[in-house]
């Protein structure tokens, strides 16, 4: 019984690892052969392949880590930190920590309002504002919504897929510039007639 389960795990993780390597190979092949001649399209394909490789590789990596074949290179001597995290797990962050996060969120909002009154290029301002907003969203999700204190498998289920889906919306966006230039061209040609 126990043996057959181990065999099953070995096969499943082997398949997932192969898929991950395959996705990496497609990404590499696209980069080498097309050499980004397709512009955004190539970049998008490579990003999707890399994300796919990451998603496929998560399970084999966790499995190998649990079996002790690989170790976490970032672990260092964090044994003490882990102990406190385990203790906090039941209640999430302390109240003091939450007040600090609240203060940080207010501070970032103040920076945003201040930035809105400096004459900046609209694109630059949009990038800065979105960057700050993503930091704020991450703080809210991690601390207020307790994501930081959930099990790793839960975080890996919710967060990456949400990021991918939200990014997929942005694919349509460059079309808006095309519509604008087409409209301007059509008004110019109308004036010429």
């Amino acid at each position: 019984m126990e043996q057959s389960k181990e065999k099953e795990q070995l096969i499943m993780n082997g398949i997932l690892a192969l898929l991950a390597v395959g996705a990496l190979a497609v990404a590499g092949w696209t980069a080498v052969v097309n050499q980004f001649k397709g512009g955004i399209d190539d970049l998008f394909l490579i990003l999707v392949c890399l994300l796919g490789a990451l998603l496929f590789a998560i399970n084999p990596l966790i499995w190998a880590y649990n079996n002790g074949w690989i170790s976490n290179p970032f672990a260092g001597d964090k044994a003490g930190e882990e102990a406190t995290e385990v203790m906090e797990h039941a209640h999430g962050g302390s109240n003091r920590e939450n007040v600090i996060i609240w203060g940080a969120l207010l501070f970032l909002t103040a920076i945003e309002v201040f930035l809105a009154y400096i004459h900046l290029d609209q694109t630059l301002m949009l990038i800065i504002l979105m960057g700050l907003s993503i930091i704020k969203a991450a703080l809210i999700v991690a601390y207020f919504m307790h994501m930081k204190f959930e099990k790793l498998s839960f975080i890996l289920t919710i967060v990456p897929i949400l990021v991918v889906l939200l990014c997929l919306f942005a694919i349509l966006f460059p079309d808006s510039f095309r519509i604008r230039s087409q409209r301007q061209q059509s008004t110019v040609s109308q004036q010429q007639h």
Partner: protein
């Protein structure tokens, strides 16, 4: 006893544990709802950005007072409501239900304040002549080529967000009224929803208000 049982169920994901994520089914359901709802708001915000980028001209009409002052105060109020909700969940996790109820009432107070401030702010804009299908004549002259898409985007996005805040108020009201009968997970789940509403405003505020600030003094 019960906790030991849950522990054994979460022990191994591969053997089909009942709680492979160490999260109850209500909380998992709320997370899935939050994912789908964030896609709704993302679609609206991308649609608004699309309309703005493809338009010849887009009004940037919000003066420092009242619009920016009101929306900044609304951000402060919503962030504070999130903090009180965190306190409510933390009190509930320690089993102090009446303290949790008081913190939820504080959250509801801030949420109601947000809606009132937002309606006043809407009133200012409607007085100027902004509607869901029309721009004020003055704005149409100042920003030639701008369309009524401004009003649709503004009222559509802020309206849907306000509806979420209102729904959250009802949700929290039910939780607070019957808190003795609800488990800690129920309180935590309502907290997740409330923080999500706050999170959405963190994107609506810069995109709708701060990107449309009127620099010119009147």
């Amino acid at each position: 006893m019960a906790e030991a049982k849950v522990e054994s169920l979460t022990d191994n994901e591969w053997s089909g544990g009942a709680f492979p994520y160490a999260v109850g089914h209500r909380k998992l359901g709320m997370w899935l709802f939050i994912m789908s709802d964030s896609l709704t708001f993302c679609a609206l915000l991308i649609g608004y950005s699309f309309a703005r980028a493809s338009s010849e001209n887009w009004p940037t009409p919000f003066p420092f007072y009242p619009s920016i002052v009101f929306s900044s105060v609304m951000t402060l109020v919503l962030l504070s409501s999130s903090l009180t909700m965190v306190f409510a969940v933390s009190a509930s996790s320690r089993g102090r239900k009446s303290a949790a109820r008081k913190w939820i009432f504080a959250t509801m107070f801030f949420g109601a304040a947000f809606i009132v401030l937002h309606l006043i702010e809407w009133g200012h804009l409607m007085d100027e002549g902004l509607y869901i299908n029309g721009l004020p004549d003055e704005w149409a002259e100042r920003w030639p080529g701008s369309t009524s898409l401004f009003g649709s985007a503004f009222f559509g996005i802020t309206g849907l967000h306000m509806f979420h805040v209102f729904t959250g108020l009802c949700y929290l009201g039910v939780i607070a009224a019957r808190i003795k009968k609800f488990t800690h997970e129920d309180v935590e789940t309502s907290g997740l929803y409330w923080h999500f509403v706050d999170l959405v405003w963190m994107f609506v505020f810069p995109l709708i208000y701060l990107m449309s600030v009127d620099f010119t003094p009147h």
